[in-house]
Point group: C2
Chain length 110, copies 2
Amino acid sequence: MKRSAKDFDYSGETEQLAKFAKALGHPARIIILKHLSNQSCCFTGDLLDVLPLAQSTVSQHLKELKEAGLIIGEVNPPKVKYCINTKNWGIAQQLFSTLFKEDFSKINCC
Amino acid sequence: MKRSAKDFDYSGETEQLAKFAKALGHPARIIILKHLSNQSCCFTGDLLDVLPLAQSTVSQHLKELKEAGLIIGEVNPPKVKYCINTKNWGIAQQLFSTLFKEDFSKINCC
DNA sequence: AATATTAATCGTATATTTGCGATGAACAAT
DNA sequence: ATTGTTCATCGCAAATATACGATTAATATT
């Protein structure tokens, strides 16, 4: 991709929020996260029953969630237990709620 | 892209949340939204001063936000006034806050 | 030692995203 | 009528994302 001159640096917060949002930007990953956050505790790979995807594809989605910092995988061969990364989950929660804090329900110009 | 057999239908809410998240998944679009939501009222294309991007690229990002339903563009040639789509903004706010409602700060298994 | 189970990774195909410059459309001002 | 301003759209290139099957790695079971 052609990139503008010197790759611009957005602010850390902006970058971080975009990164979380991007990770949430696929229905399969939303399902995974909902699954993990409903589970009172952690969980392994029964995701295959829930998702209409091949094992390798699910693994790829898990990897992306891990890279975004939203989940943690605890290896326990031959199984792996996945959990919400609670620290970053809290950060994400906060960043999104800040973004949406404005309440436009009353005043609006359009 | 190869797609699994018959394109699977995720639930409407899941699909909708993923769509909003995807639209938020780029720093430039976060900046645009912050700009619009800070502005007490609407606003046109001074975004070019804020973003390190070409006019056509910014226009593209605006289009994506429009298609995701997060903003509205009111044509007023030769200018265009952009605003937050307050109705969908509220819906997004609600969907994200539901996703993040679990509070893991205390109990956690990992 | 051989087999089974689980999940990551590799290789590959295709789709989508991001970005730019160039062009076009809509109107205002001259 | 001509020119200027603002923004959308087109055409293109490069990067990333999505998906799959096949393979590999790690361990438990037989």
